[in-house]
């Protein structure tokens, strides 16, 4: 990594960064598995974004549902002959495929919003902790330690028991359990940077601490944070599904993938396996895809880090 003092004042080092990106892309492409994961992730994102145009049915438009079509097995044709239910229908005659697309949307929204918020909060706390050190550092890191010593699922469950159901509330709870990972990683990376020459130099030039922190230290902490962000994205999506399954997550009116599994659970015993089965597969695929990207990112961005 370049430590030239000259590039300091401007949004630093355009040339090396570009080449770094290229290097990074090449490194990333070295793993076919990770590439595959990325392709799937992009595909899922597209499906979620364009769900209203792709889905054969809007599962929330009640007027389009016909109760006669409930619990049809995969491949059935609707009673009015207008469409085929490739993945079957649920107990309320919703097309399972359409429900998965819309559910994917909610799951991914929850995941991305959570990770962005946790990233912002965690990175800020971590950087401040690293930059100022001393008592602030000790206090903040103690909080992080305590937070991380409790399993995420328990903390989120208890928080949601208090907050109640809702997409927004799930996000609060997930941010509350995830920020600490970012804080710890950001601090770790920032402490290394803080002691490097260019930061010392910047301090000598009496630049404001905000500026040093955000313009100079922060960009160098991004790689490890990106790794955490990817892995936590998978965590957030899985955790939301778990919470919804336990009945404290999103409300029934906004079914995420986890909620779809939970709804379909009712029908498992009666042989209508597809109602829970396909959302389960979809959820597993999303999480696997993100994990494959995340694992590889970890390998190339911070090798030999914690396991």
């Amino acid at each position: 990594m370049s430590t030239t003092v000259i590039g300091l004042a401007s949004p630093a080092m355009p040339a090396p960064r570009e080449s770094m990106l290229r290097l990074f892309a090449a490194q990333f492409a070295s793993s076919k598995l990770a590439l595959l994961g990325l392709v799937f992730l992009v595909l899922f994102l597209m499906l979620a974004i364009f769900a209203p145009w792709i889905a054969p049915q809007n599962p929330f438009e009640l007027a389009t549902l016909n109760i006669m079509d409930s619990k049809l097995p995969p491949g059935s044709v609707s009673s009015n002959g207008a469409m085929t239910y490739w993945l079957g229908t649920d107990g309320q005659a919703r097309d399972v495929f359409s429900a998965i697309l819309y559910g994917l949307r909610i799951s991914l929204i929850v995941g991305f919003v959570t990770v962005s918020a946790a990233f912002t909060i965690g990175a800020t706390v971590g950087l401040i902790s690293a930059y100022f050190g001393g008592r602030i550092d000790a206090l903040l890191m103690r909080i992080v330690d305590i937070q991380l010593s409790f399993p995420a699922i328990l903390v989120a469950l208890v928080l949601l028991a208090v907050l109640g159901k809702g997409v927004d509330k799930v996000i609060y709870a997930l941010v509350a359990v995830q920020w600490a990972y970012f804080a710890r990683a950001a601090r770790g990376a920032a402490i290394v940077e803080r002691n490097k020459e260019y930061v010392q130099a910047a301090r000598c030039m009496s630049l404001s601490w905000q500026r040093i922190l955000w313009r100079h230290i922060f960009p160098n902490c991004i790689p490890p944070l990106m790794v955490i962000a990817t892995i936590d994205l998978a965590h957030a999506i899985a955790l939301e599904a778990t919470l919804s399954f336990l009945g404290v997550g999103v409300p029934v009116t906004e079914p995420s993938l986890g909620m779809l599994i939970s709804n379909g659970y009712e029908f498992m015993m009666s042989g209508a396996y597809w109602i829970a089965f396909y959302p389960g597969i979809a959820l597993a695929l999303v999480v696997v895809a993100i994990n494959m990207v995340g694992d590889h990112l970890r390998d190339i961005l911070n090798p030999r880090n914690e396991i």
């Binding site: 109760i67 309320q92 029934v252 009666s270 209508a272």
Partner: protein, 534 residues
């Protein structure tokens, strides 16, 4: 060759193992039931967990002064003598009742049931000065007998029960006051300790309780009614709140009987040889409207229009036909049904006409908000059912919006009434209810005094005519006259359509083929004494 020998041996071993397992079963029969409650209902003599609690931890271990007749699957069940042989209201002072107690009844601990024991059980919920008074018991009891004031002993087998106002519903209410052995309580002087080894006089004796896991009972051979001495030696009750767990447990042979199998699993259970029993019981799944002045539903025409707009057959189909279409609070052939001048049926043409008369039409659609829950005891399949109704109402020009809240909160809101901020301006609330006694079915809903905070007249019905009818029923102490008076209340309830009556549940149960002799009464409670195991 060797393989087949091995197989034969394995089969032999299996057969002898089965034989061994079958032997003690022949000596002692056990009925294992998967309940829907999340926990063992309280065994303090006043169970929690609603009527399911009474079914399994009340009427099994204990008796009340009055009991439900659960012997018939056809007739609506009536109140019959229990630990009281007879009762009559004082001709001069209608707030006083004389109860003649049954002689020769023994509790499971061998002590006698008499007037002192009965008084003890009244005091446990009414007399704060007594050490056996307990807030937990009060919570489970008093809401079901709001006019009960006290009881006094006349002689060893006669007591006088007092109410705060003349109330002909008292014998119904007293089916919920269970008689515990005072001697058993006196041993530890604590209901918590009593609950660990409860002693009553019911057909089943307590054996063992594992918190949250199982309650084991055995038959009480000394039960006073010889016809109701259980035909099974033991009964084990296991809480299984998750419907799928119940089905899995039944299919894997962990239990012999499950309460409320999900309607989707019923065809499969049936095809595997399990018996599915069902019978309508006093349960109604309604929308309770807000009729306070200013609400669109203060107009009777609007209420009737909605009543006519929904095809209840569709709801039944949605539930796999495990429901019957509601035509009122009670079933059509029930003595309290009467002859309402307005018929609850599917008639969208009249519905549109009535709405138009009330000033609504294509240009001015009626908008309404309903508070519902996503699940809950007795709520059936609330989301699917409500969405179906929403679809149907849309067709006559009514736009329904749902406020989906947690079951416990919905319950709370029910008590708080439509004017409370918690209702968030809702025009209706969807809480299913029991109506097996007249207080539950009518008085608490239609009496103008029963608005918040007293009871659950959620929609602020202030109908002087209705008040008169309810008061008349309450003051009719002759059973026949009371039923006629109640049918008048019911006629008005249907004609005014303060509630939109959708369906009644049929309480399905799934029983293993080994279970014989069960008669499912049209009641929340059931008699397990007649059940035998083969």
């Amino acid at each position: 060759m060797y393989c087949s020998l091995l197989l034969k041996r394995a089969r032999l071993a299996l057969a002898s193992a089965l034989l061994l397992a079958a032997l003690p079963a022949g000596a002692q029969t056990t009925l294992r039931i998967g309940m829907t409650a999340a926990d063992i209902p309280a065994t303090t003599s006043q169970p929690d967990s609603g009527f399911e609690g009474n079914r399994f931890a009340g009427l099994t271990l204990f008796d009340a002064l009055t009991l439900w007749d659960l012997s018939s699957a056809e007739k609506p069940s009536v109140v019959i003598p229990g630990l009281a042989e007879s009762w009559a209201v004082d001709a001069k002072d209608k707030t006083k009742w004389v109860f003649k107690l049954r002689k020769g009844v023994k509790f499971h601990d061998g002590t006698a049931f008499n007037a002192d024991a009965a008084i003890f059980n009244f005091e446990k919920v009414l007399d704060k000065s007594k050490p056996h008074y307990d807030a937990r018991l009060v919570a489970q009891t008093l809401p079901r007998m709001p006019t009960l004031k006290g009881a006094t002993k006349v002689d060893d087998y006669t007591i006088i029960v007092e109410t705060s106002e003349p109330d002909a519903f008292l014998p119904f209410n007293l089916t919920n006051l269970f008689m515990a052995s005072p001697a058993a309580w006196a041993k530890t002087r604590s209901w918590t300790e009593f609950a660990k080894a409860p002693v009553g006089s019911g057909p089943w004796k307590f054996v063992r309780l594992v918190p949250r896991e199982r309650l084991e009972l055995e038959k009480f051979t000394g039960y006073w009614n010889k016809n109701r001495v259980p035909k099974t030696d033991r009964m084990v009750l296991i809480p299984m709140p998750e419907p799928n767990t119940r089905v899995a447990a039944l299919l894997s042979g962990q239990v012999d009987w499950i309460e409320a199998p999900p309607s989707d699993a019923i065809p499969q259970l049936r095809s595997k040889g399990y018996q599915i029993t069902s019978n309508p019981y006093p349960h109604t799944w309604p929308w309770q409207l807000n009729v306070a002045p200013g609400s669109p539903f203060a107009d009777k025409r609007v209420r009737q229009a909605l009543q006519l707009a929904v095809d209840r057959e569709g709801l039944r189909r949605l539930l796999g036909f495990n429901a019957i279409a509601a035509k009122g609070v009670v079933f059509e052939n029930h003595p309290w049904f009467g002859k309402p001048k307005f018929e609850v049926k599917y008639d969208p043409v009249t519905a549109r006409k009535l709405l138009a008369e009330a000033g609504y039409g294509p240009g001015k659609r009626l908008k309404m908000k309903v508070q519902i829950s996503a699940s809950g005891s007795g709520q059936m399949q609330p989301i699917a059912m409500n969405e179906y109704i929403q679809q149907q109402l849309k067709e006559i020009g009514v736009d329904v919006e749902f406020d989906v809240i947690v079951w416990e909160t919905l319950f709370n809101n029910w008590r708080l009434g439509a004017k409370d901020p918690a209702a968030r301006g809702a025009d209706a609330i969807n809480v299913s209810f029991a109506w097996q006694d007249p207080f539950f079915g009518f008085a608490r809903f239609y009496d103008s005094r029963m608005v918040a905070p007293r009871s659950v007249n959620w929609g602020w019905i202030q109908d002087a005519e209705m008040d008169k009818l309810v008061a008349k029923a309450r003051g009719s102490f002759d059973a026949k006259a009371r039923d006629i008076a109640l049918s008048k209340v019911h006629e008005r309830a249907v004609e005014e359509s303060y509630f939109l009556f959708w369906v009644h549940d049929v309480g399905p149960r799934a029983l293993s083929p080994k279970v014989k002799g069960f008669v499912q009464a049209k009641n929340w409670f059931q008699d397990f004494s007649t059940v035998s195991m083969q």
